[in-house]
Subunit: 94 residues, 2 copies
Amino acid sequence: MLTIETLVGFVAAFCTTVSYIPQVRKCWQTGSTGDLSLKMLAILASGIALWVVYGFLKGDMVIIIANAVSLALLFNLLFFKVRENASAREHKPA
Amino acid sequence: MLTIETLVGFVAAFCTTVSYIPQVRKCWQTGSTGDLSLKMLAILASGIALWVVYGFLKGDMVIIIANAVSLALLFNLLFFKVRENASAREHKPA
C-alpha cells in the first residue's frame, strides 16, 4: 500500500537522484570540473554507498534504489574529475 | 541501544554531510562556481528538504539530522552560485 511516507520518500529520492543529471550533463559538455571538489565527490560517494547498506539493513527499498542510482551518477562525476586531474599533471612543465 | 543499522546510518550520514564541507571551502576560497550546475544545487536542495520530511514521517533521527545539516551546507553553495550568476549578468556588456 502506498503510504504518505513512501510517497514523500519517493519524491525525495527522485529529486536527490535526478539532481546529479544536470551536473553530469554539464561535465560531459564542458569537460571542466575545476570548481568541483574531489574530496567532496569521494566522501559523498562513500557516504552514499553506506546509505545503500543502511537501506538493505533496514529493508527500505526507497533508500536502496535512490542511493544506488545516485552512486552511479556520482561515479560519472568522479571519472571526469580524476581524468582532469590526471591530464593537469601530465601537462604541467617539469 | 546502538544497533548495527544505526551505526551504519550514522557513518553514512556523517560522510554525506561532511562531504559538502570541502566543496563549501573551495567556493569560499575561489569564489568560483562556474563548473557547478545551478539546476543540480536547486533540485538537490529540494530533495534533501523532502528527505528531512521523510525522516520526520518515519521518526528516523538519523535521516532528519543528516539531511538538515546537508541542507544548511548546500544553501552555502547555492548562495555562491546565485551570487556569481547575478554578478555575471551585471558585468555583461549591454
